[in-house]
């Protein structure tokens, strides 16, 4: 009776003796004993598969015509000539590794000595490990500016520099405008570009090549990331500058409301700096001083608990 196929178990890994492993032989033998759970012995099919034997019997010869096994994973029916060649090379390599590994594994198994303490073991992880990994001679430098540029003048200068550089390459007839990013920035000539002439702000950057190069360069110089939406909705340099230099966000809602001119003209709207508490409401109708006096007369706490 053919043995029922069994799902793979974790202990099966130990059974594969041909694989090079660091587990000792006694453990593997014990695992092999425990894995022999089946009532029927494993029936080895031998080198010739079952379908092949059937075919041989049907044809009555040792070499039956036709394909060898149409259902096999490596069946020639499933392979193009190229993959067939690759598969052949891979199989030969597999044979090589197997041939190499076998003596190596036995050698390693003979050299194995179990450790009694962790002192001599290699230590992986931790801050010291990370320090040791660092390459001081060639430190990592990111593409973008390390910190976000906050100063609006500096951002404008960076944008102007990016526009000048990209248009210079563009008029010079260079194909790849993003070459401007190869020049690392230094802040000295950065600020000197700032002047009071704002005509360059009206430049159109509708051409995708130029816009992409300018945006890439200015993101590199300033460290400010722009969303796709911000880039798409910026037809001119000025619009891009507005996206880059955002107004300072008001800290409180009332500051934003005070800045809104619609409320400034409404006399019947009053803005409060803070939450209108029940005490404020009582004060507005004049009742709080009465409440306060009554509480004080009774030796009760005016606010909170006693």
């Amino acid at each position: 009776m053919k043995r029922l196929p069994r799902t793979a178990r974790s202990v099966d890994l130990l059974l594969d003796i041909s694989r090079p492993t660091s587990i000792c032989r006694s453990c593997r033998l014990r695992a092999a004993q425990q894995s022999a759970l089946s009532t029927s012995a494993i029936r080895r099919e031998g080198p010739v598969p079952f379908t092949e034997r059937i075919r041989k019997r049907i044809y009555g010869t040792e070499n039956p015509p036709g394909q060898e096994d149409p259902y096999a994973r490596n069946s020639p029916l499933r392979q193009t000539p190229e993959t067939r060649e690759e598969l052949r090379v891979l199989e030969s390599e597999d044979d090589l590794t197997v041939q190499k590994a076998t003596p190596e594994s036995s050698e390693l198994a003979n050299m194995y000595e179990p450790a009694n303490s962790w002192d001599s073991l290699e230590w992986v992880g931790g801050e010291d490990y990370l320090e040791a990994l660092k390459d001081d001679e060639k430190p990592y430098v990111g593409f973008m500016h390390g910190t976000k540029v906050q100063d609006n003048d500096e951002i404008r200068a960076a944008l102007r520099r990016a526009v000048v550089e990209v248009y210079t390459l563009h008029y010079a007839g260079r194909e790849d405008l993003t070459d401007v990013c190869n020049a690392r920035h230094n802040d000295d000539d950065f600020k000197s570009l700032l002047d009071r002439n704002y005509e360059w702000l009206a430049l159109s950057i509708k051409e995708p090549r130029i816009k992409f190069a300018i945006v890439k360069r200015v993101m590199q110089l300033t460290g400010i990331r722009l969303s796709d939406y911000a880039i798409q909705t910026s037809p001119t340099v000025e619009a891009l500058l507005q996206r880059l230099t955002t107004k300072p966000k008001p800290k409180k809602l009332v500051e934003a409301l005070h800045a809104d001119s619609r409320f400034a003209n409404l006399q019947n709207v009053k803005l409060f700096e803070r939450r209108v508490t029940p005490i404020d409401k009582e004060k507005q109708v004049g009742r709080w001083k009465v409440i306060e006096e009554a509480l004080v007369n009774r030796d009760l706490p005016v606010t909170g608990h006693q």
Binding site: K270, V285, K289
Partner: protein
């Protein structure tokens, strides 16, 4: 005769730089509980009115003085009150009327005894304007109204109860307790405490008032107020002369009705002073005359048939005769008789009643009402031709009746 320039009298309601500075009295409520602060919290305004470049005359108040110690909100807070601006817009007040004056109209004399900050003077002016416009309307449009009905109609149009209900309709809320920290858009008054009796011991202006003589209609015209009622407090009615001198003295509190009455009157006075006579009259027509009053329900005849026969005799008509027009169910439990009162061939009135006598009296009352409620077509009032409209309209003398029947 030299014309009175009422608008010049209102100089104190003009922007503050034209005002004579006056000391501000602190709220006695706070004086009781914060005596230790009082000696340095009383501040006087500048002694000279010549400085006109600084419009904010509240600057002279010590900034350390808590608002709670003031009896009423400082005028500078009026411009920042949302309630006040909303009320100004809701009443469609003329833009010439500043919010400061509107805020002052809302401060009753019981809250702030100082006449420089309360509405008492404005209320006196407004009371006169309201009384004038109401009485000229009633007299010109219903020239034959009996005097008692005239008093009742005046009371119904501009009496305290009417003004109180108007205040409620305008959405004016009353502050719980007056003080400087209160929103200027609230009506401020010191309420009459439950244990306080309403003091009626004031001077009524009547001679021999200690004898409690019967008040006839003629004496009510002469001595009493515009509604024919006794003047409750002569000192209050004559311009708060007593309150001015003793500014720290707290009189008795006021009721909501009194404070509302003073507020509406003061508002009319303020409109008159700031926007002029025409605006005040328009305000009166829009807010007071627009209220419907059924004058025919104000009558109460004691002897209607006799009054009618006297009337016919006076006017030279044939003496009235009651005739049965129709009847139904005379022998049933609910008979109805319809009786007409005839003077010769003219039917003066008609009434229905459960008995012949009742129907006859009702018919006589209807005839009297028809006489008294006569209203001329296109009646004019004197204020129509006052001021700049002299060229547009020509005064047509109003009809004057010889008066009611006195039996």
């Amino acid at each position: 005769m030299k014309r009175l320039r009422l608008d010049r009298w209102g100089a104190q309601f003009l922007p503050p730089q034209y005002q004579v500075p006056r000391p501000r009295v602190l709220c006695p409520y706070q004086q009781a509980s914060h005596d230790h602060r009082i000696q340095h919290s009383t501040r006087f305004y500048r002694s000279t009115p010549a400085i006109r470049d600084t419009p904010d005359y509240e600057d002279s108040i010590d900034l350390a003085t808590p608002l709670e110690q003031l009896p009423s909100p400082p005028p500078k807070l009026a411009s920042s009150s949302a309630k006040l601006a909303a009320l100004h817009a809701r009443l469609s007040l003329p833009s010439k009327l500043p919010l400061h004056t509107l805020a002052r109209c809302l401060v009753d004399a019981s809250a702030d005894p100082s006449p420089d900050f309360n509405n008492s003077s404005l209320a006196i002016l407004g009371s006169e304007i309201l009384g004038y416009h109401t009485s000229e309307y009633l007299l010109c449009h219903y020239p034959r109204l009996p005097m008692t009905v005239l008093f009742a109609a005046q009371y119904a149009y501009v009496g305290p109860k009417a003004l109180r209900s108007m205040t409620l309709e305008w959405g004016v809320e009353v502050a719980a307790e007056p003080g400087g920290e209160v929103d200027p858009g609230l009506l401020q008054l010191k309420r009459l405490r439950p244990e306080e009796a309403v003091i009626q011991a004031g001077e009524t202006g009547r001679p021999n008032q200690q004898w409690a003589y019967r008040r006839g209609t003629s004496s009510r015209i002469v001595y009493d107020d515009q509604f024919g009622d006794l003047k409750k407090d002569a000192t209050t009615a004559s311009g708060n002369a007593m309150v001015v001198g003793s500014s720290t003295a707290q009189g008795p509190g006021a009721t909501d009705e009194e404070a509302s009455k003073n507020f509406v009157r003061a508002l009319v006075g303020a409109v008159y002073l700031h926007a002029g006579r025409a605006a005040a009259k328009r305000f009166f027509e829009q807010h007071f005359l627009s209220r419907q009053l059924e004058l025919s329900k104000l009558f109460d005849f004691k002897h209607a048939p006799r009054d009618l026969s006297r009337l016919c005799a006076r006017e030279g008509f044939e003496s009235p005769v009651a005739r049965l027009i129709s009847e139904t169910g005379r022998l049933s439990r609910h008979p109805v008789f319809v009786v007409g009162v005839y003077s010769g061939n003219d039917k003066l009135g008609e009434g229905a009643g459960a008995s012949l006598d009742e129907a006859r009296i009702r018919a006589a009352a209807a005839a009297l009402k028809g006489w008294y409620l006569y209203s001329p077509i296109d009646a004019m009032v004197p204020s129509d031709v006052e001021g700049g409209d002299k060229e547009k309209k020509k005064w047509e003398p109003a009809m004057i009746d010889i008066g009611e029947i006195i039996t």
